[in-house]
Amino acid sequence: MDNFSNLLDGFSIAFSLFHLALMAVGVLLGILVGVLPGLGAPNGVSLLLPLTFTMDPVSAIILLTSMYWGALFGGSTTSILFNIPGEPSSVATTFDGYPMAQQGHATHALTLAFMSAGSGAMFGVVVITLLSGWVTEFALQFSSPEYFAVFLLTFASFIGMGSGSAWKAVVSMMLGFACATVGMDGISGNMRLTFGFSELVKGISFLVAVIGLFGLGELMQTMEEGLRFDGIHARIRIRDVFKAVASMPGHWLTLLRSAVIGCWMGITPGGPTAASFMSYGLAKRFSRNKDNFGKGEPAGVVAPETADHSAGTCAILPMLALGVPGSATAAVMMGGLMIWGLTPGPMLFIERPDFVWGTIASMYLGNVMAVVLVLATVPMFAAILRIPFSIIGPLIVVVCFIGAYTISGSRLDLWLALPFGVLGYVFKKLGYPIAPMVLAMVLGDKAEDAFRQSMMMSKGSLSIFWTNSPLVATIMVLAVLLLSWPLVSAVLKRFRKVA
């Protein structure tokens, strides 16, 4: 029952007028970035991060996580009303959400989406609450080799479990590592890869990369497709809201299945996007109304939304507990943690329980608030998309560049955001995954430091990664298995074809 008393302490920290106000602001800003094309959760959090540098870490993380919830909700709103997924993870919601809205059931679809998203997130927070106490138990076993093994496992899982080409994931990740090594080396103090540019001494900020890759890149893609909103007028009818809420218990099996999928994909870095697609696919396979999927089947909204949000929520746990983010947004938040002077990892649970449990408690409150706020403000945010894109588009561009500049007040960052934008656009069109690059930029330094510190411990012998503890050996074996998985599966496929 230790977790329970910790959680109560957390509530006493999170439950203040200031924090509730921050949550409301975060959620509303989040819905805004979720609704606007080109701005998504990773980007929104990056833009907001420089404003939190002076805040207390608990307040800062509450603002950022609330923005994350809001962005997830905003993404589903545009999927249903405009057939435009505001986030990659809400693509699956368009399959049945938009047809429902076309048939005049917009309120029903939206309410279902928000309620299932809320339930998914709640499930995720409960899982986090239960697992967190357990994290502290093996916290003290962690030293440099273990950290390196965990990082390697994360990198390996992004390569081994990605849906696209593994080699493209490798390229993307190595580019991220290369960017992370630019600047002063933390161990030797040498200036690496700066090629004589003094602006590069402080390194290339992953925030600039996120703003370029996700923000500008996505905008360019939106523009290329020739933006056209076929919006459905959103008027929330209270009676329909209650009807939809009343129908929720009927979806219990879909809810439960999707929440479990989401948790699994969130904790292992499969990410919300993969979770929502997988959950949609399974819901369709097990449904009695298989033929109605894609034509406005309510379960087709419930499944991806639940999984999306439970994965998004669960991605916070490995970020706090191991310093391993389960999604691009979590990676950005983890970067924030380090900027605020906190070290993510198991020791955080021992040294800063107020931060950890305050965050977890705020996730309960923030999600409830997000469901209420998003229902109340849908018509307003839907109206934003009726503003012509020749106004909204440039405004988003301006916001992105201001965000890039505010990171460290450097002119170079304005220029760096441009090539990252082009890179994001090209990569997305050619099927290069972008998340591994962000992950490598955030974790690159830490992984390298952990590796070199381990080497100092072992006097240059690699065997430390197998012999230091049973824990490190297990993680290393898992990592190697995951890394070789694309090769193994390719060989198996060929073998089956021959046979």
């Binding site: 404003l51 590592f177 690496r192 905008l219 020749s390 440039p394 007040g409 304005l414 590796f451 100092m456």
Partner: protein, 166 residues
């Protein structure tokens, strides 16, 4: 799949070009890391070790992608960009590039006003007074949000110095 009519750039060409670019970035990284020793010292790897192998893996993986492109995409006539799409992308990217260029000399506020105004007038075909109103109010809103409320200074240029705004 789109047909090849009006194709400006094929997917095949773009796959090749991207692989070549990523490989050359790898080469630059390898070259840059030679400065600090890429070997294995007394206390494990030297500072250049990690970036050097990152660069090597980058070159190798780009090579595999290049080979994959040659195998998979040469026969398929997929488009990366059609002429129409290219027009839309340049119409968006061009002004954005100019915005950054102007901003880095004249400050973000002046850049923002010019950018919003020009895009609205020339691309959105709005009347001048409307465009001016939107552009100016965006600058004022950003000023209050960043400089006054959050106390985060944005990049300023000679105009602000002349007007005495800091």
């Amino acid at each position: 799949m789109r047909t090849t009519s009006g194709v400006l750039l094929s997917r095949f060409a773009m796959e090749i070009a991207t692989a070549l670019v990523t490989a050359s970035i790898g080469a630059v990284v390898c070259f840059g890391s030679l400065e600090f020793g890429t070997g294995w010292g007394d206390a494990g790897p030297q500072p250049g070790y990690f970036p050097f192998y990152v660069g090597l893996i980058l070159i190798f993986a780009s090579g595999v992608n290049l080979a994959m492109a040659l195998v998979h995409h040469r026969e398929r006539l997929e488009a990366f960009l059609t002429t129409e799409q290219a027009h839309r992308v340049t119409a968006f990217f061009g002004p954005m590039f100019l915005f950054v260029l102007v901003s880095s000399f004249l400050g973000v506020y002046v850049g923002m006003i010019l950018y919003l105004f020009c895009v609205m007038v020339f691309q959105g075909h709005y009347p001048v007074h409307k465009a001016l109103a939107v552009a100016l109010s965006a600058a004022v809103a950003n000023y209050f949000l960043f400089e006054v409320w959050f106390q985060v200074p944005l990049l300023k240029g000679p105009l602000e110095a002349m007007l005495g705004i800091h």
